[in-house]
């Protein structure tokens, strides 16, 4: 038998060896010779903190109780490493780019740097890990006890609690020494990791050695072993599919969520590529660890007395068979398993506790800002050390409270279930951009509560924390709230029940609340950077160098600002930095300046995104893109608005210009019109006044003269009257106030009337009128008086102005479609081409001869009348003499019939 003292000595020596290894590794690392310290092999071995004392001792116990089900503990991690390798890689990439220090930090950071979430995850981790640490302490003390029990040669039974205390204190010391040497997450714990790698080898060697002894020493080789296994009671163990699935899920989740796994997997990872090695090497390690579990359990059941704790078969089998050296090696393997787990877990937990609980509280208490001074650095280290001690004190306290009577495996599974509550928030955080802080918080809290209620608290046993009545009848007798039969799901394995409800409600709350709410800007930003980590970080190996960056920035700036301006900007910045050339250092001040300059051209969001893309310090988030799109759209809209506005302004200006021209023209027309009227009125009045004064003098006038002058006065009076009539007529026509007197008539009758009206009683000035009376036989509806007025005007004009010796006027009438065409053509010299355009204007008298009644308004009146009647009058060139064409419909269009409603605006303008 190994004396207790020697066992202790071995233990202390082993720990001393670990200290030396850790110290050497630290020395080597600080000398810059990292080398093999950071090899894929060491990384893979460090992952073996997954295999704790629970795995080392407990797997055999598990197998002895439940057969092959223990394999699920290895199955989960294997599946994750082989099948979900890329998810771990994503975690590692995120951990590096975001400088993540723990799983609490990851979740807090992902959800908008919410410390509340960090606190929740920290508490979850502490609550979930404390039993596990207690479990390790228990396993060490139990293993000591095995040797004590075996030692019948009278050494005093050591105090179990004291052993646990000493172990805890030793571990605390080691962890403080090597776990808090430095602060930054990027400066990894080389010593700790190396020591753990060594422990991983010891574990494996010890377990494999016991296995080989069992297979080849106790049994007679593999064949005999296989026969023994198939003959053992374990062969008949029921295969519970539900538990298999549940356990596999739990152990798979544990890889992601166990704080110590996160520590070695992500935080301590030196190179992403190591994961590739680990993805096959770690499953291989697990395979070797599990290979001899079943044989040891079978041999243990066969050789150990009934009632022996199967969790200790790894120790008791070699011990009872006199293999003390092997037993000691197995003891060291178990010790390694326990210590490595406690050390890494303590580091991980202390980081969380100090970062998320102690530091915020301290800063709050100090009421100072987070100034990163040397004092703060010391403070953080002190907080970590205290946290490490605190974590171990908690573990020890739990160990003392529970009395170490539980089966190892059940405590482990309770822990697994607890920390698995972080899984929805974690996976959702790295794969789902829509996940929100509130969702994560709700999921975590509900999962934590359900876990506590359905698994953790009941695990203390009926009557300890929860009363037996509560467990069997539910709180206040509400049966569907029974902790182990929630919502009436009865008769299920309590672990499976707890896993199902906690994870289901957790996920439901997480997804539901996330969908219901909207992530804040910070959450969106972080979410984008986490979920799309591979899009943004090219290789986590470092950023582009300054010069290349500056050149890229210059190229981009030239595209946006134009060559001259961009070069001037860069040159100025370079000169300001005391450099020559065009490439300044990309200092934050310069980048900010550049961003502002660019923002002037392309908008702030775009500028930010562009600079960020080149500098690589930030990535384009959805928000950036949205803002970019918004800005672009706004700019486009704005520019199209400007265009429309300028077009509108142009249109308005043109309208104003036209209106102004029109007004000017009208003003000129008005002046000319008034001037004309004045002339037309004053001229006859001059004669009238002069001759009336002569007549009033009455002296020596001959009677003929007297009569002549009187007739002049008379004619000029008539001329005045006619002028006034014409003016009024025109005014009425132009204002549209004329009322048409429509009636059916025959065109021939109307022409007869006009010819008759113009026939001079005296023979002089007579004109021969040629007509085709048959063709004139056209029935129409019109204002006969007005139409006659037009005809008379045309006939009078012909008679007045036709210069031929034998004046003739030909009137041609003919139907054309729905209308009538009437041509009045005389045999005179016609109207010169340049005058043809103005003859229809007012006072456009071409001749100097003021034949009686001519005020120059006739044709203007004719044009107005024809317009009212729905027809037109135009000069018809190329007919030899003067020719006018009158066109009118057989029936006036409806619109022109109700007089007074048409054309008022232009008429008023014309007449102004």
């Amino acid at each position: 038998m190994i004396p207790f003292d020697i066992l202790v000595a071995v233990c202390v020596s082993y720990v001393a060896l670990l200290f030396i290894i850790a110290f050497m590794a630290e020395r080597r690392a600080s000398a810059g010779r990292v080398g093999w310290l950071r090899s894929p092999l060491v990384y893979t071995l460090s992952l073996s903190v997954y295999c704790t004392a629970w795995t080392f001792y407990g797997a055999v116990g598990y197998a002895a109780r439940s057969g092959l089900e223990f394999l699920t503990i290895y199955l989960g991690p294997t599946l994750v490493l082989v099948g979900w390798w890329w998810a771990l890689r994503k975690l590692v990439r995120i951990g590096k780019t975001q400088r993540i220090t723990s799983i609490a930090d990851l979740i807090s950071s992902r959800y908008g740097k919410s410390n509340a979430l960090g606190v929740i995850v920290t508490l979850l981790a502490v609550v979930g890990t404390t039993p596990y640490i207690a479990l390790q302490l228990q396993s060490v003390t139990l293993s000591f006890a095995v040797f004590v029990r075996a030692g019948t040669d009278g050494w005093a039974l050591p105090d179990v609690n004291a052993t646990a205390l000493w172990v805890a204190a030793g571990l605390a010391l080691f962890t403080v020494l090597f776990g808090t040497r430095n602060l930054d997450a990027n400066e990894r714990h080389h010593g700790v990791v190396t020591a753990i790698a060594v422990e991983a080898v010891v574990k494996l060697v010890a377990l494999v050695a016991v296995g080989i002894f069992v297979v080849w020493g106790v049994a007679d080789g593999p064949r005999d072993m296989a026969i023994r296994i198939s003959e053992s009671p374990l062969a008949g163990t029921d295969f519970a599919a539900g538990r298999w699935v549940g356990m596999t899920f739990l152990s798979a989740a544990a890889i992601f969520t166990l704080p110590r796994m996160f520590q070695v997997l992500v935080v301590e990872n030196a190179d992403e590529r190591h994961l590739a090695t680990a993805s096959w090497a770690f499953p291989l390690y697990l395979f070797l660890m599990s290979l001899f579990v079943m044989p040891i359990a079978v041999i243990g059941l066969a050789t150990q007395p009934a009632g022996a704790n199967p969790d200790l078969f790894v120790l008791t089998v070699p011990l009872s068979l006199g293999q003390e050296g092997l037993a000691t090696l197995a003891f060291l393997g178990g010790f390694s398993s326990a210590t490595s787990m406690v050390i890494v877990a303590a580091i991980a937990l202390s980081t969380m506790v100090s970062n998320h609980i102690v530091m915020p509280l301290w800063l709050n208490w100090q009421n100072t800002g987070a100034s990163m001074s040397g004092d703060v650095r010391k403070l953080v280290l002190r907080a970590r050390r205290i946290s490490i001690a605190g974590v171990l004190v908690l573990g020890y306290a739990y160990f003392r409270l529970t009395g170490g009577s539980e089966a190892l495996a059940s405590i482990g599974l309770i822990s697994f279930t607890g920390v698995a509550q972080a899984l929805p928030a974690l996976l959702g955080g790295i794969f789902w951009r829509g996940a929100t802080r509130r969702g994560a918080g709700a999921g975590l809290l509900i999962g934590l509560a359900v876990w506590l209620y359905t698994l953790f608290l009941p695990s203390f046993g009926a009557g300890s924390v929860m009363s037996a009545g509560l467990l069997s009848d539910g709180p206040w007798g509400v049966a569907w709230l029974r902790p182990q039969a929630l919502f009436g799901v009865d008769g299920v394995d309590p672990l499976l029940h707890a896993v199902f409800w906690s994870i289901a409600l957790n996920s439901f709350a997480f997804i539901g609340v996330s969908l219901w709410g909207v992530p804040g800007p910070m959450e969106r930003l972080q979410g984008a950077q986490f979920v799309n980590v591979f899009d943004h970080s090219s290789d986590a190996q470092g950023w582009m160098q300054g010069a290349a960056e500056a050149e890229d920035l210059l190229i981009m700036a030239q595209r946006i600002l134009g060559g001259t301006e961009a070069q001037a900007l860069f040159q100025r910045a370079a000169v300001a930095q005391g450099k020559t050339g065009y490439l300044p250092d990309t200092t934050p001040a310069f980048l900010e300046r550049l961003e502002r300059e660019l923002a002037g051209s392309v908008g702030a969001a775009t500028a930010h995104a562009m600079v960020g893309q080149i500098v690589g310090r930030s990535s384009i988030s959805v928000e950036d893109l949205m803002a970019m799109a918004d800005e672009t759209a706004q700019m486009m809209e704005y520019s199209s608005q400007l265009e429309a506005k300028s077009a509108e302004l142009e249109r308005t200006a043109r309208q104003l210009r036209e209106a102004n021209e029109k007004l000017t023209e009208l003003s000129v027309q008005k002046d000319a019109f008034l001037s004309q009227i004045s002339h037309e009125l004053r001229t006859p009045m001059t004669s009238i006044r002069a001759f009336s004064e002569i007549l009033m003098g009455g002296e020596d006038l001959r009677i003929e003269d007297r009569r002549w002058y009187s007739s002049i006065i008379h004619d000029e009076g008539i001329r005045l009257t006619r002028l006034l009539d014409d003016l009024l007529d025109l005014s009425v026509l132009e204002n549209g106030q004329v009322s048409l007197n429509l009636q059916p008539a025959n065109l021939r009758d109307l022409i007869d009337r006009a010819v008759a009206a113009t026939t001079e009683p005296k023979g002089d000035g007579a004109i021969t009128i040629h007509r085709d009376r048959a063709a004139e036989n056209i029935e129409l509806v019109t204002d006969t008086d007005r139409l006659c007025q037009v005809f008379i005007n045309l006939i009078v004009n012909a008679r007045k102005y036709c210069t031929a010796d034998a004046p003739e006027l030909r009137i041609d009438a003919r139907r054309q479609g729905d209308g009538v065409l009437l041509d009045f053509v005389d045999n005179g010299s016609g109207i010169p081409k340049r005058s043809q355009a103005i003859i229809f204007e007012k006072f456009a008298r071409l001749s100097d001869r003021n034949a009686a009644g001519g005020a120059g308004l006739g044709l203007a009146i004719c044009r107005e009348i024809m317009g009212r009647l729905g027809g037109s009058i135009a000069y018809l060139p190329g007919q030899g003499g003067a020719a006018f064409r009158v066109q009118l419909p057989l029936r006036p269009p409806e619109t022109s019939a109700p007089a007074g409603s048409q054309g008022e605006a232009p008429a008023q303008l014309n007449h102004a």
């Binding site: 008034l674 009045m685 002069a690 004064e693 000029e716």
Partner: protein, 122 residues
């Protein structure tokens, strides 16, 4: 003091009226009723006084006045201008061209006679 008056006017009744008024006062009145040949008529007639209408066929009274003032032989000729337009702008125009007297139609016979006598006396 001369007694030859040239009247350039296109309204026959007004010509008749003025001729009557001036002839009764002893003036010798010649008439012309067209614009384009007006200057030639003045040079031919060499009147002591010119009565000039503004609205003339062919050439306006203003243009004829400008021609007269530009023509050395007759530049000093007293010109009495008549217009039926009666706008102040026309008066200003006539004065700027060097009219001797500007009268608006209709006028009283006495006024006309006084103006003619006045201008001829200068």
């Amino acid at each position: 003091m001369g007694s030859n008056v040239l009247l350039i006017e296109d309204e026959p009744n007004i010509i008749e009226a003025i001729r009557f008024i001036l002839a009764r006062d002893g003036w010798h009145v010649q008439t012309h009723s067209e614009g384009t040949s007006a200057l030639a008529a003045v040079l031919r007639a060499r009147p002591d006084l010119l009565i000039l209408d503004v609205m003339l066929p062919g050439r306006s009274g203003f243009d004829i006045l400008r021609d007269i003032r530009a023509c050395a032989e007759i530049a000093a000729l007293p010109v009495l201008m008549l217009t039926a337009k009666g706008q102040s702008r026309d008066r200003a125009m006539a004065e700027s061209l060097g009219v001797s007297r500007f009268m608006t139609k209709p006028f009283s016979n006495a006024e006309m006679l006084a103006a003619v006598r006045d201008l001829a006396a200068r």
